[in-house]
Amino acid sequence: MKSISNHLNFHASALQLRSRRNNILASNIANAATPNFKARDLNYDQQIRQVDDIGPLKSTDSKHFKVAVKNPHQTLFYRQPINPSLDGNTVELSVEQLEFSENSVRYQTSLEFLNNRIAGLLSAIRGE
């Protein structure tokens, strides 16, 4: 059973992270007109490395002490605006739309990989 979950784990986590990021980007777009709202984003690369256990330090034994990883609460960062606006809002619709569409495509890619892996497992089980 473990090998099946290992087989699917990476893209499952990627899907979760992408979905989390989509929600954050949706929040930014929702607040496009709110004065003083600061747009936020998630560092996907850093997060997926944590999931995949390929952080800055790799341990060779399970008994080794875990290297302190950053608190997941602090992984959101504020976006630096290209053209700051007078009302203190840092949401730039062009940036947010670009990030959102890219994130959606990457979500679909992970989904497609998962589908292929499930299809592969099923054909192995059926023995076709």
Binding site: R20, L25, A26, I29, L42, L93, N115, A119
Partner: protein, 138 residues
């Protein structure tokens, strides 16, 4: 306020806020050019006040939405016009025109409808993704 959980809460409530904004713009445009017999009676343009509503778990998931918490009257003064023949002119022959700047309202209307559309787009995209995720492995 109920907890903000997913994209339907985020974008749905933001759309409601934008709709409030569009309603105030419609009211302002409908009253543009109205004449009153005193400065107090003259119409003043209405502006919504937007505020960010954060989810309880915002530190963890970063979810927030927008809400129109209040509607205020703008402090622009009505224009004083000398029209002694007008039926609602005061004793000195002045009428007061509604304090609405049509150009400003038009620009705001375009911005509000654009942002409304963006929220619709977000919901449509994420709904499609959700449906595809549900049918995963089929």
């Amino acid at each position: 306020m109920a907890e903000i959980k997913n994209v339907f809460d985020i974008s749905g409530r933001a759309m409601a806020a934008q709709l409030v904004r569009l309603n105030t713009i419609a009211s302002n445009l409908a009253n543009a050019g109205n004449l009153a017999s005193s400065e107090e009676e003259a119409y003043r343009s209405l502006k919504p006040v937007f505020e960010t509503q954060y989810a309880d778990e915002v530190r963890k998931n970063g979810i927030a939405t927008a809400q129109a918490v209040d509607i205020v009257k703008s402090n622009r003064l009505p224009e004083k016009l000398y029209l002694p023949d007008h039926p609602s002119a005061d004793d000195d022959g002045f009428v007061y025109s509604a304090a609405v700047n049509i150009e400003e309202e038009y620009v705001e209307m375009m911005e509000a409808s654009r942002q409304y559309q963006n929220n619709v787009e977000v919901i449509t995209t994420l709904r499609t993704l959700m449906m595809r995720t549900i049918s995963m492995g089929k």
